[in-house]
């Protein structure tokens, strides 16, 4: 069965989603969803180990050899992403039981869990597949699941935010489709590795370049690169807590992965960074996005919205790393994809616990939390420190590598920007910490969140510290993944 791991990751949620949708009550679908995410996590970890032992794993769907059939192709980069997606799902699902019972209600729970499973299916599929059109299909599966999940928020503004994401997201997906169509016309193939072999000969063609532009723009819409991020803050703010935690940790990251796959594997470094100077587009946008989104998040009174803007800023760090076009920059970007996933999930989950008890996540709800909900609040503090990039947390590891990568290129201004970004993060996290420690709560009784929310939350917090101290695992994998990606589709 071990040879079938690449498909099992995707197959498990596919089988479970329709089953969950037919169940009654909230408990049974929750059990199914949780067990399936754990199963997928085990599969992804085994896959990662397999990639470490054997190198790239190729799986032919239906027994049809690529490029005629669809192949799943797992290297270090997608194995790492699969671990991130299924790992986050495995932590968020146990957490979801209580928060979903309160925010969504029993009647809609089966559909909620089915949509969550479809989201995981879409994200894993996008990551695992080695076929450009297949990515579009899974992208749309995950997006459709996201639209419905976002709309399940209690606030009625969840509906409008979901609608605007639907419009933006569909434009992004369709742009990607147009780009893939142009490439198909020129090369007659949809397989990414096959495309990578044929595209260098066609690099002068205007059609290929237009296709490249469409693909990059479409994916940047999906990953919320400044200035295409406008759908993100409202979507994150009004979604149910568990949904924000999962989407905030994984959805944009998978879009980043697709961008990396397109730029590095499919078009190749030579085309993307020498013939088309992509750095001149990505780096300035990332810098502006980083500074503006961080500044805007300082002014937010709703803490969830603050973290949403902070997500835009953190995505800019990742794009900065990609825009460098070097192995070190890419390593830093992949590291930050993984690390930001862990810390943002922890932060959103602690906010979910606050919302569970206090009924809201405005700044005033945070007053005196260190006394009333100490465990939840300390989780938030550690996640926040990680976001700032304090040593001994994961945030430090990835920012350190990003700075090293910038120094390697001699980009001093970029180093300054990264440090300013950290200071801005210190300010916006600091406001919340100040409110939590030094302001008097409206009601002084201790009302810690229930264990069902705290245990998953603290698992992530411990992962934040553990992977911040023991950096061998993530850094080695990210470096290996970057080396594979820099080599393009040729060696694979």
């Amino acid at each position: 069965m071990l040879t079938h791991l690449p498909v099992l990751v995707v197959l498990a949620p596919l089988l479970a989603a329709p089953v969950a949708s037919l169940m009654r009550g909230a408990f049974a679908p929750w059990v199914v969803a949780t067990l399936v995410s754990w199963f997928s996590l085990v599969c992804s970890l085994l896959l990662l180990a397999q990639v470490g032992e054997q190198g790239v794993i190729v799986y032919n769907m239906g027994g049809w050899e690529a490029p005629w059939g669809i192949e799943y192709r797992i290297d270090f980069a997608n194995a790492l992403l699969l671990v991130l997606i299924t790992g986050m799902a495995s932590v968020v699902m146990p957490y979801a039981r209580l928060s979903v019972r309160q925010e969504i209600g029993e009647e809609r729970s089966p559909m909620f869990y089915a949509a969550m499973l479809l989201l995981i299916l879409g994200l894993c599929g996008m990551t695992a597949t080695g076929d450009a059109f297949n990515i579009f299909v899974f992208l749309e599966i995950s997006s459709l699941a996201t639209y419905t999940l976002l709309a399940m928020g209690k606030d009625r503004r969840a509906l409008t935010s979901s609608f605007s994401y639907l419009v933006m997201g569909t434009i992004g997906g369709t742009f990607y489709l147009i780009g893939v169509g142009f490439l198909y016309v020129m090369t007659g193939t949809l397989n990414i590795v096959d495309l990578a072999e044929r595209l260098p000969a066609l690099s002068d063609s205007a059609t290929v370049r237009t296709g490249f532009a469409f693909i990059v723009t479409g994916i940047c819409l999906k990953l919320a690169l400044f200035p295409l991020h406008l759908w993100l803050p409202n979507a994150y703010t009004f979604a149910p807590s568990a949904v924000t935690a999962l989407i905030g940790a994984t959805a944009t990251k998978v879009a980043v992965y697709v961008l990396v796959r397109m730029i590095f594997t499919m078009f190749g470094v030579e085309f993307s960074f020498v013939e088309i100077p992509l750095s001149y587009v990505l780096v300035p946008l990332a810098v502006v996005g980083l500074l503006s989104a961080s500044s805007v998040s300082i002014m937010q009174l709703n803490i969830k919205r603050m973290l949403a803007y902070s997500s835009v800023a953190q995505i800019s760090y990742i794009i900065l790393g990609i825009g460098m076009g070097t192995a070190m920059g890419l390593t830093a970007a992949l590291l930050h994809v993984f690390n930001h996933g862990i810390m943002k999930a922890a932060l959103f989950m602690s906010l979910g616990a606050v919302a569970y008890r206090m009924g809201g996540v405005e700044l005033k709800d945070m007053n005196g939390l260190a006394k009333t909900m100490p465990l939840t609040f300390w989780a938030f503090v550690i996640g926040g420190l990680s976001l700032i990039g304090v040593p001994l947390t994961v945030g430090f590891v990835s920012k350190w590598h990003l700075i090293l990568a910038a120094l390697e290129l001699g980009w001093w201004p970029v180093v300054v920007v990264i440090l300013v970004g950290s200071i801005l993060a210190l300010i916006y996290i600091g406001r919340v910490v100040e409110a939590g420690f030094f302001k008097e709560p409206a009601d002084n009784t201790r009302r810690e969140a229930p264990a069902g929310l705290l245990i998953p939350l603290w698992i992530l917090v411990i992962a934040n510290i553990w992977l911040g101290i023991d950096t061998r695992l993530t850094v080695d994998i990210a470096e290996a993944a970057a080396a594979q990606l820099m080599a393009g589709g040729v060696v694979l």
Partner: protein, 140 residues
Amino acid sequence: MNDHLILRVVGKFLIPYVMLFGLYVQFHGDFGPGGGFQAGAIFACGFVIHTLLFGSRSTEQIVSIGFLRVISALGVLVYAGVGVASLLLGGEFLNYNVLAADPITGQHIGIIVVEFGVGLTVASTITLLLMIFAERGLPS
């Protein structure tokens, strides 16, 4: 719609043929143009015509929303089930060759069952979409 006699009579006359044509496209998809998506859409057209002529209440007496939900989930399971079966028989996911002793027969069996699953899901989902939207506007 009660007084549109011609529409109702012609509609009643058409529905069985529309559905029969859907079934033809479904099961002839193995040899000619056709397949689950198209067949499901055509088959669902029968229900769409019925809903337009007689109202969603009377369609719901034929196929209830709960039933359609079960069918739409079942279709996905049939599709994925073929994949699981081929996994268990030692092939890759959706490798129809291993479904029978002879690969060609296996391909026939595989594609027919998979397309049947697709057809079930598409037909029930299209009907379901229409009925859920229609029900929203009805006075409860």
